[in-house]
């Protein structure tokens, strides 16, 4: 079956279609079937891992919009996740607020923070902007820590499982369904947003903001909108994290969390939503895959302590090798594999081939 060339679009419908060919539909159906069957076949641990991946996908897509598409570097991602989680925790703890109230409240707090901490982007770029967003992390960390200390939650705020109508979300399979739906919705929303005037403005900003301004794009509004949209989605991810894990603690949102999310973008492939998804899958599952690989090796018990230390180092080493040897990220590998099959027996895509 031919792969969509991208050259010949005979209708507006074809131009707007997200899925273009029967092969893509078949692949999508197979993916849907696989994702649908997964919770029925997976072990509880694998299911928990999948839920972690889905939570990470939401956060990674949100950061990809801001950094990968709008070109605005942010190191405040863990702060925004924490803001969403603490909004949920505080509302649930202090006011007994239900799920349907804490979710929009978390999004609203994310929007406000995105607007406030997006303001420096109007004057700052690059490393200077990164440092200004770092302030967001430290301010939220300070406020969260103060709340926990002053209110006696020294080991975090414990949350009850949320209730959606008659359903109590206390089962990993239910959470899988919810998180998969939210992750898919966020992905589709982002994919479509990037095809709108706003999304195209972000891409223009990323490529050259001076040219974007010359083309009549309202640079300030576009930058702020990128911060707001990304922050809302990130805060929602924080809210879902809090409910899924059943706790809120500022120690769960360290600067390392931000670094992990940045790593997801770079490893996955900057400037691609699929890259964000692949990066999230890789960064979340990789430490566990190393665990699994090491567990399969016959290591004497007395050497087990050394093995843990080696595993910790191996993660860093493999990340480094990955970045050195595959700068286009997992997306680059995906494209090469896909092209090998799609173009066979030829090796190269024709001129102006779509990616």
């Amino acid at each position: 079956m031919a792969y969509a060339s991208g050259y010949f679009k005979t209708s507006y419908g074809a131009e707007l279609a997200l899925v273009e060919t029967r092969l893509q539909w078949a692949a999508l159906a197979a993916l849907g079937l696989g994702l649908g069957l997964f919770p029925l076949l997976a072990s509880p641990f694998a299911l928990d891992l999948a839920n972690q991946v889905l939570l990470a996908v939401i956060g990674a897509v949100a950061l990809m919009l801001l950094t990968g598409y709008a070109g605005q570097i942010s190191l405040g991602h863990a702060g925004l996740l924490a803001a969403g989680a603490f909004t949920t925790g505080i509302l649930a703890e202090e006011a007994g607020a239900p799920f349907w109230l804490t979710v929009p409240a978390s999004g609203a707090v994310g929007a406000v923070l995105g607007l406030v901490f997006g303001l420096p982007s109007l004057r700052l770029k690059g490393l200077y902007l990164a440092v200004s967003t770092l302030a967001l992390h430290f301010i939220v960390a300070f406020l969260g820590s103060e709340y926990e200390t002053r209110h006696g939650f020294s080991t975090g705020i414990l949350l009850d499982s949320p209730r959606l109508g008659p359903v109590v979300l206390d089962d990993a399979r239910l959470w899988y369904g919810l998180l998969l739906a939210v992750a898919a919705a966020v992905f589709l929303f982002s994919r479509n947003l990037l095809r709108t005037r706003t999304g195209r403005a972000w891409i223009a900003l990323r490529d050259r903001d001076v040219v974007a301004a010359a083309l009549g794009i309202p640079v300030a509004a576009a930058k702020l909108s990128a911060f707001v949209v990304s922050s809302v989605l990130t805060a929602l991810a924080g809210c879902l994290f809090a409910y899924y894990r059943g706790f809120v603690s500022i120690e769960a949102f360290s600067l390392f969390t931000t670094i992990e999310y940045v790593a997801m973008l770079i490893i996955g492939g900057l400037g691609s939503l699929l890259g964000a998804v692949l990066g999230a899958v890789f960064v979340v599952t990789f430490p566990y895959l190393i665990d699994l690989a090491v567990d399969l090796l016959p290591v004497p018990a007395r050497l087990s302590t050394y093995v843990f230390a080696v595993k910790y180092a191996a993660f860093g080493l493999i990340m480094l090798l990955f970045l050195l040897l595959e700068p286009e990220g997992l997306l680059g590998i995906w494209r090469r594999v896909r092209d090998y099959f799609v173009l066979w027996p030829f090796r190269y895509r024709p001129l102006a081939g779509r990616s």
Binding site: S145, S154, G246, F247
Partner: protein, 389 residues
């Protein structure tokens, strides 16, 4: 012919019975330990995990519990809540553990507590800071054998400072800026005036601090004559060293984490005191010899850092000894509510849990400092019993 058939059937049944009995005897008491073996806090928690592993290996070599081995599933949570959560879920949903153990930073507590409560499996803090939920009236599922004791530690520390100081005390307080450490030091700050001690500075130091000098400078500028620190070891000792580099001549009281014995020898400062609940190896008790022998089998950690985990191993053995076969989490919980462990000198007295007290009924403190003449750690204050009510 019929006789032969019955004979064969009998032999088959006997063989099945023997196999079943062997299989039953090999069925383990399964417990899961999620520990910070690498990453932040590993210097404190990896030796604890190692000591528990050595203790369990020794226990199994002696025949296990009621003829059944103890299987210790160890996972490295890197002090990350998400990984601790994943481990807890795996332990209860997949591995079917009877009991979960935590030896990690407080950041890993909430997800494990959440999972323990959801599944009704007891959670034993073995080497990590005891959360206040284990104090009377205790949470039904949470237990702790660790030497640290928030609130009680600061009360004892302030009393010690007051009785050791010759005159009025100007006290500076040091914490790491994590809620559990800050909360304790803030409590000490509130408590100090009731002991006739004047708090003059309260420094909360972020975890990734490369330079402790600014915090030390504030303490010195405030005119502190004593400093009390209740934080991870790195924060305590780096602050002390920064103070000495600035020429500060006061006295410093820190919590005796597992590496305190070697650190006193490294610092060799007579005014650096450490207080805690574990006996130093310099006392050379028979139980210390046991630990040294076990460590000789192979460990990358100094044997002097294994006492905390050894106590946890003792408690684990005592708990499982009170659980009849087949074990269930409910039986383990019942055994934990009535356990009494002879710590054989590693602590000042026995460790006892009751249905309402999952910390211990009596807590014992000792204070050590370096002595230049003896070139070793000496007692600044011997065991002091504190009733936990």
């Amino acid at each position: 012919m019929q006789h032969r058939t019955w004979h064969r059937l009998g032999l088959t049944l006997a063989a099945v019975a023997v196999l079943f009995a062997v299989a039953q005897a090999q069925e383990p008491y399964r417990v899961g330990l999620s520990a910070a073996l690498t990453g932040r806090g590993a210097e404190t928690y990896a030796p604890v995990s190692e000591a528990i592993r050595l203790y369990v290996a020794r226990l199994n070599a002696r025949g296990g519990i009621h003829g059944h081995p103890v299987e210790l599933l160890v996972e490295d949570n890197v002090a990350e809540p998400s990984r601790a959560a994943a481990h807890a879920k795996k332990f209860v949903s997949q591995d079917g553990v009877l009991l979960m153990l935590n030896a990690s930073l407080s950041s890993t507590y909430p997800p494990m507590i959440h999972e323990a409560k959801r599944a009704g499996v007891p959670l034993f803090f073995a080497g990590s800071v005891c959360p206040r939920e284990v104090y009377p009236p205790a949470d039904p599922l949470l237990f702790c054998s660790t030497a640290f004791a928030a609130r009680y530690d600061s009360e004892f520390a302030l009393d010690f400072i007051k009785e050791t100081a010759a005159g009025p005390v100007k006290l500076a307080l040091v914490s790491m800026s994590i809620p559990i450490s800050r909360g304790e030091v803030d409590y000490a700050e509130q408590l100090a005036p009731s002991r006739g001690i004047e708090p003059v500075s309260n420094q909360s130091i972020p975890p990734p601090t490369p330079n402790y000098a600014p915090f030390a400078a504030k303490i010195k500028a405030a005119g502190a004559t004593w400093v009390y620190a209740w934080a991870p070891w790195v924060t305590q000792v780096k602050t002390f060293e920064a103070l000495r580099q600035l020429g500060w001549q006061g006295k410093f009281l820190a919590y005796a984490h597992i590496n305190a014995e070697e650190e006193l020898a490294r610092l060799q400062d007579e005014h650096f005191y450490v207080f805690g609940a574990n006996a130093f190896f310099s006392h050379n008790l028979p139980v210390h010899q046991e630990i040294l022998q076990a460590a000789a089998q192979g460990t990358m950690h100094p044997p002097t850092q294994l006492a905390e985990g050894w106590v946890a191993g003792m408690v684990l053995e005592a708990v499982l000894a009170g659980v009849s076969w087949p074990p269930t989490p409910a039986k383990v919980l019942a055994a934990m509510n009535r356990v009494r462990v002879d710590t054989r000198g590693l602590r000042g007295g026995p460790l006892e849990w009751t249905p309402t007290n999952h910390f211990r009924t009596t807590h014992y403190y000792r204070v050590y400092r370096w002595d230049r003449r003896q070139q070793g750690a000496v007692l600044a204050k011997d065991w002091t019993a504190v009733a936990i009510k």
